[in-house]
């Protein structure tokens, strides 16, 4: 167990005993990461702030149910992801500028994906184009720097599935950034499922450990 994980367990215990300093320490340790996940998943700062608050409320209200079988951060990020999915499901939001699935307008500079990426460096927008299951994997692994195993625990899927989703998510991301039409074999397995319908197995109950 890492130093951070040990410290988190101690902080949770202190919080449950009414230690007020533990609250701030837990917030300071995790609030930016939780917010970062929310912002990457939702692409809306206000929504990300709301969902960050919702996440911490859930965690602090259910802190007594945390049994330290998994790292606190794993539990926290699982609640975060579920809160993000819930938010997306509630709002059914689709960005107005989203391209129709499978459609990439021609870009004359798109021959070389690396060169094209420099021309169209909108990584945030490209992330938003990813289906949720791929976006969540890429956000957790590549942007938050979490390990495959921890990400698997958070998402409730096997590690191999996480690797596959990261692989495919990155590939789709690169195609979007480079405006690079993927070979036909890529098209079919990357663009599904629809953005607003994350698969059920990824959604362990909020607040449970």
């Amino acid at each position: 167990m890492t130093h951070r994980a040990t410290e988190d367990i101690d902080l949770i215990a202190r919080y449950l005993q009414g230690d007020m300093g533990a609250f701030d320490e837990l917030m300071a340790a995790h609030e930016n990461r939780v917010f970062g996940i929310c912002l990457r998943m939702l692409r809306d700062r206000e929504a990300a702030l709301d969902v960050t608050q919702e996440t911490f409320l859930t965690v602090f209200r259910k802190a007594d149910r945390y049994k330290a079988q998994a790292a606190f951060s794993t539990w926290l990020y699982r609640v975060t992801m579920n809160a993000c999915y819930d938010y997306l499901r509630r709002t059914k939001r689709r960005r107005a500028d989203a391209l129709p699935e499978g459609f990439d307008p021609a870009d004359p500079r798109a021959g070389d994906p690396l060169e094209s990426a420099e021309v169209r460096p909108d990584i945030e927008a490209a992330l938003g184009e990813l289906a949720e299951e791929f976006r969540s994997a890429v956000v957790l692994v590549d942007l938050q720097g979490l390990a495959i195993d921890q990400t698997a625990e958070i998402l409730g899927v096997p590690p191999g599935t996480v690797k596959s989703r990261v692989f495919r998510g990155r590939r789709r991301l690169a195609e979007l950034l480079g405006n690079h039409s993927p070979p036909s074999r890529h098209q079919t397995d990357v663009d599904r499922p629809a953005p607003d319908s994350p698969p059920a197995p990824e959604h362990p109950e909020s607040g449970t450990n």
Binding site: N32, F35, F56, A117, I123, L127, R170, E175
Partner: protein
């Protein structure tokens, strides 16, 4: 593609293989055009992801988040000790947008306060002192007189200059120039604020937080604040982080009041009628005067 192919490509793109393994992997991948293509895309995505800007809460967002959560879960019955980091001591720039509206609403008015440059004496407030007097800072204070007869509300190009008044709380009348850059950026700079007038402007919402002019001011002030690691902002940070009423704060100016060095703050609430303008002692954040709830 097999799983092991994906893992190999990922590892190669991530640079997690040692030289020998990487060489072998590259040789294997080069026998497959799809694999080479995938390796390119993986590398491209990783490069792009590294350029993604950090997603971080501003210090104001962080303070508000914590305050809201505390309020929701009701964990803290006693006073919270707030210990801003050096970075947190910076003025919450996010507050400038709305607060700048207040600045625009204020024009030359009766000099019950005289203002001096804030940055020069920025170190006069010890954070520890501020923390130790949170309770004092929230104590009700006498209302300031309006001095309404001397109020001049000027247009942008017609800033009035009111004659000094005398009162037990009369202040020195020496005016310091506005922060460098403010005038050039927005054309004018408010001075000699009258708390009651400012309060009335808050109530009547005579400001438009979305105006382009505000954003111009916001930019100017933000630049100033960025360079100003300013402990006097601790009053504002402490008050905001311990108050359920205010959502934003704005350090308007520094000055003297009753012989004490003070900081003039505007605290904004969701409802303008709930907003307040407050004079707080620079040495310990004690609230000396207030116009508002």
């Amino acid at each position: 593609m097999h799983q092991h192919d994906q893992e190999l490509i990922m590892a190669l793109a991530e640079g997690t293989l040692d030289a020998t393994a990487a060489s072998a992997a590259r040789a294997e991948i080069e026998t497959c055009s799809d694999c080479v293509h995938d390796l390119e895309l993986q590398a491209l995505a990783l490069t792009a992801l590294e350029t993604a800007p950090p997603a971080q809460l501003s210090e104001f967002e962080s303070a508000k988040l914590r305050r809201d959560i505390r309020g929701e879960i009701g964990v803290f019955k006693e006073e919270v000790t707030f210990e801003p980091s050096k970075r947190q001591r910076r003025f919450p720039i996010a507050a400038f947008g709305t607060a700048a509206a207040v600045l625009i609403a204020v024009v030359a008015i009766a000099p019950r306060l005289s203002l001096v440059g804030g940055a020069d004496s920025a170190d006069t407030v010890a954070l520890e002192a501020a923390e130790s007097t949170i309770a004092a800072a929230t104590t009700a204070a006498p209302q300031l007189d309006a001095a309404a007869g001397q109020v001049q509300v000027g247009e942008e190009d017609n800033l009035g200059t009111a004659a000094p008044t005398t009162s037990p709380n009369a202040l020195s009348t020496t005016m310091a120039p506005p922060p460098e850059g403010a005038l050039e950026r927005v054309g004018y700079y408010a001075a000699n604020p009258d708390l009651t007038l400012l309060r009335s402007r808050l109530e009547s919402q005579e400001f438009d937080p979305d105006s382009a002019r505000l954003f111009a001011l916001k930019d100017a002030e933000a630049e100033i604040a960025e360079e100003d690691v300013n402990t006097v902002n601790s009053c504002l940070v402490v008050t905001l982080s311990t108050s359920d009423e205010f959502i934003e704060g704005f350090q308007f100016a520094r000055g003297n009041y009753d012989g004490r060095e003070v900081i003039f703050y505007v605290y904004l609430a969701e409802e303008p009628a709930e907003s307040a303008v407050v004079v707080q002692a620079a040495d310990n954040c004690e609230e000396l005067a207030r116009a508002g709830p």
